[in-house]
Amino acid sequence: MSKPNINKSENKIVISVDPKLYPLESIYGAAYVFLDRAYVFLDGDSKKEVYVHLKGKKKLTDGDMENLADEFLNELLNYSLRYQISKDNRQIREYIVGAALIGALGENIDKSMESDEKDWKKDPLGIAVPWEEKYAKRDGTKKKEPPLKGAVGQKDGKK
């Protein structure tokens, strides 16, 4: 990386960046940070040399221009490191997210099973209601039933 080229008349600095040292993603990141302070324009060759044009939104002094260039380079380094860490940790990050998603899914399964159990206790289909009660409720009167063979406690006492 060469020294920033300062063009005072145009209120502009041109910084040359080596994309082998600083990946394009980090250049975008650093440029994005400066959008509120300067007009940023990218040019050059993405594999050999990238030119970052920074034009001040306000009139800049020589000192301001140098500061702007230095701050951009710092931001570039910052983003470069962030990008590298993000790249290195990608596998473990994906693993953690995957594990969290599976965990959350398991929790849902348990909850749905619990609700099924509760439904069973409520007996929504009326399976646990004795046949006699169900039948009596329908027409209001209890119909005569054939005595069950060997049933205990019959009214007529016959066995």
Binding site: L24, E25, Y28, G29, A31, Y32, L35, Y39, V40, F41, L42, D43, G44, D45, S46, V50, K55
Partner: protein, 68 residues
């Protein structure tokens, strides 16, 4: 006025989005030439004449970052 965007750094979709956002302020004509995308800007609103080029470039860059 003309702006030449290098395709290696700027995404066509981002440029189209920017022209859509700026359509009230000027007339944009997009041309693709080899490794570049050329934007002709005409009929610029008087109030933004001095800054439209630079602001447009910033907008395109911000949109391009979303694609990376």
């Amino acid at each position: 006025m003309t702006i030449v965007f290098n395709k290696q750094f700027y995404h066509l979709q981002a440029i189209k989005k920017a022209t859509e956002a700026y359509k009230e302020l000027a007339v944009f004509n997009i041309k693709e030439k080899d490794n570049n995308i050329e934007i002709d800007i005409d009929g610029v609103d008087k109030d933004v004449k001095d800054v439209i080029k630079d602001e447009f470039c910033n907008y395109v860059l911000a949109e391009t970052k979303k694609f990376t």
